[in-house]
Amino acid sequence: MLNTVVLLGFLTIQDSQAQETQEDELDFLLATLQEDAPPPNLLYGMGIVSGATETKRWESRSRYRVSDRVEPGFESTHPRLHDYTEFVNRFYYKLNHAEKGWNSSVQVDQVTLGLNRYILDDRMYNSIDLLEPSLFSPLPNSFVRLEKANLTRNFANSKIEIGDMGGAFGRGIALNIRSNKIVDIDTSLRGVKYSGSIGNADFTALSGLSNRQQVSRDNPNIGLYQDVPHLINGIEVMLYGVGSATLGFHGVTATFGDVSLRNESGVRRYEEAIDATIVGADAELYGVAGLDWYFEGNVFQYYDDALNEGGEHETGYTGYVSASAYPGILVVLMEGKISKDSERINLYTSIDNWEVATPPSLEYERMITEDSSATVNSNDVIGGRIRVDVPIVPAVFTPYVAVSAFHDKDLEGLHFNIVPETIVHPVAGVQYTENDIVVLMNMGYRIDDRDSVAELDAGVDQGQDRLIHFDGEVGFPLFNHEALELNTSMWKFMWGDNPVPHNDFVTMQNAIVWRHGEDLDFIVYQDYTTNTQLQSVGNITDEVYLSGEVKYRPTPETSLRVLAGAYKAGIRCSGGQCRTLPGFNGVEVAYSSTF
């Protein structure tokens, strides 16, 4: 600001100079004023937040959900009793003081249901309840919660986080808690995390109670219940620059809450006995024998009766190795995994749709089915994958081939088979990106051959599960600022023999996107499936779903989206977490703004 005062004085005594010179000076003055101006969202005053900047973000979803259910005894032409509306709001507030090295954020979630009860002549015909008894709200159709809160303080060589945070050690085999909003999972640890560096060593220590999101952003909010806090403690030490290697050591303890006591305080976990421990070590070696290597091993110990099934599975282990090589123009990635009883660690939390640890699956997760998700979550599997990329023109044209193979001996959980399975899954694809043209294509064939085990299958061949799949994305400019994008994925699944018969099915998901400039998109979605296991029905025919969407971005910080029609239910996996997402039929208006 001192610069500005001096400049003003200087300009005042230069009246006699030429007009052109004055304009130059004015330009300079304006530029200086602009540089000196504080950020408009800077907080003033004498308090601890003085000098911080604030950011607010609001996301909103308003839905009218159409139901196909018909109430018995009502005429078919009347408005549907089971249709209802849902309003979901998520508000973020962030304070950031870069100079003093701290930032803080809170997230508040809110949901309201409407049209969710139908009362006629004092009789309730239909009630869609937002909350179960374990959650209280003064308004029965509305719920508000302070979902996340975090305060982070950075020091010269360390950082402390208080509140909600994530945690991941190694390749996520021992601990991998983070928000996964693609599948609408947002679990954090609410506690304290301290991380720091001394020389070439990094260390992290954390302790917190799990905090699963109560209000879903994309999934239906019906029958919300109090989540059970589980206590997770962890410590990790990483040593960098040990020769050409990085070494890591970690340990995790878990104390799980009883799902039957949902209203019990999470603080009780600190008094209770530890239910499971995981210890592990990893090593990353750079350029050894021309390859980049990664090794990790973890041992699981279960003390809880439910986790170890009455003492039958007290220990588990997982080993993972990857090696990448770059011979000539090729890029080769090889991965291997062996896992026994390590998925048991997720027994308590998978009920609530999240997982403490999610090891690499080596599966092609873009195309997941009930069958392959069983392998992802297997408690007894060994396998590997090799992928070879051929960057013929780097960053422009790269075809690839990949093959994964597993032997899955787990017969519980999501597995429908009565004998172990041997799985082979080749995938090939290509990536082309040049001159604003984008082509991404992948196709594969997964065969899941049931072993012959006389004592289990009584000599009857159990056949094979087979999956053939293709997915692609093509985008190209049209004229002026117009562009077109086509997305498709299709797969056919054929079951082997199962104790509970399932039908083979074909599924397709297609989308056409017309981009009108940078701020306006028109999209048509079309789904088709003959999978009778899905809990959704099409709006064109039982098998065909159609919907349209308009996305508009009036400012860089604001977006508006309107979707009308239906899309199908299905399994979706991201980051090793799979979730069966429900279908939708109706209208959705979504709005988000940062200000």
């Binding site: 950020p39 408009p40 969202n41 607010k56 973000r57 609001w58 909103s60 005894g73 009502f74 509306t85 309003f87 962030k94 870069a98 930032n103 954020s105 309201t112 409407g114 049209l115 009860r117 009362i119 006629l120 002549d121 982070t152 950075n154 994530g166 991941a168 050690f169 190694g170 996520g172 991998n176 808690i177 990094d202 990857s322 890029v331 080769v332 990635l333 999610t358 090891p359 690499p360 997760e365 990329d389 960057p391 960053a395 790269t398 990106t433 040049e434 604003d436 984008v438 991404l440 985008g475 940078e518 998109d521 860089p556 604001t558 980051g575 090793g576 709005y591 988000s592 940062t594 200000f595």
Partner: protein, 206 residues
């Protein structure tokens, strides 16, 4: 047959619409410029070779923080443009800090992707999404944050569609504020020359 009577429904709809309208108007009436002046939250992460990289290492540079993931198609479409921009404008004080938002379990896939595309900008790993959540709570990918030399956020945007790199480049050139940064590659430093560069993580300024 029964007649319809929906009093409770109407009341709920009215309340909900009023609430939504209030929040909507509240959101629109706030200036977007306020948001753009936020201080960039500081962070320190390890790169794909184990080196520690902090945002503060690039205090005097214009920094584009690019969040992406190996599974994200639009991210793969955008990254060649970022590489081109990085090569052309690096000497004028521009750096791309590419942050992989891949899950810890997918960390082994990051370096092979960078190698096969011959990207030379620094690539950092954010395995537990700490930095992603600070900058981009909605977790939309790709997500770009342009940070000026003064450490303030100048511009940020989610998603990518072909052609949008033009707007991004304009913002970067504007931030560099240099007449030289007009799009012509620096003499003697062509894009093809950079392809042979083996260092994935060029040294920061300090």
């Amino acid at each position: 047959m029964h007649k319809l009577k929906c009093r409770s429904k109407k009341l709920n709809i009215f309340k909900s619409i009023m609430l939504m309208a209030g929040l909507f108007v509240g959101g629109l009436t706030n200036s977007s410029e306020v948001y753009a002046a936020d201080n960039a939250p500081s962070f320190s992460l390890r790169d794909i070779n184990g080196k520690q990289v902090s945002l503060s290492d690039y205090e005097d540079k214009v920094v584009l923080v690019n969040f992406w993931a190996t599974w994200c198609g639009p991210c793969q479409a955008e990254m060649p443009h970022l590489q081109k921009m990085y090569v052309e404008l690096e000497e004028q004080g521009f750096v791309v800090l590419s942050i992989s938002a891949d899950n810890a379990r997918d960390a082994s896939k990051v370096k092979p992707l960078i190698k096969r595309n011959r990207y030379t900008f620094p690539v950092l790993l954010d395995k537990d999404s700490t930095v992603l959540n600070q900058y981009n709570p909605e977790s939309v990918l790709p997500y770009n944050v342009l940070i000026g030399k003064d450490g303030n956020i100048l511009w940020q945007k989610a998603s990518y569609a072909p052609g949008e790199e033009v707007e991004l480049r304009e913002k970067v050139v504007e931030a560099l504020g240099s007449a030289e940064a007009t799009g012509t590659p620096v003499e003697g430093k062509s894009e093809s020359a950079s392809e042979g560069k083996t260092d994935d993580n060029p040294e920061p300024t300090k």
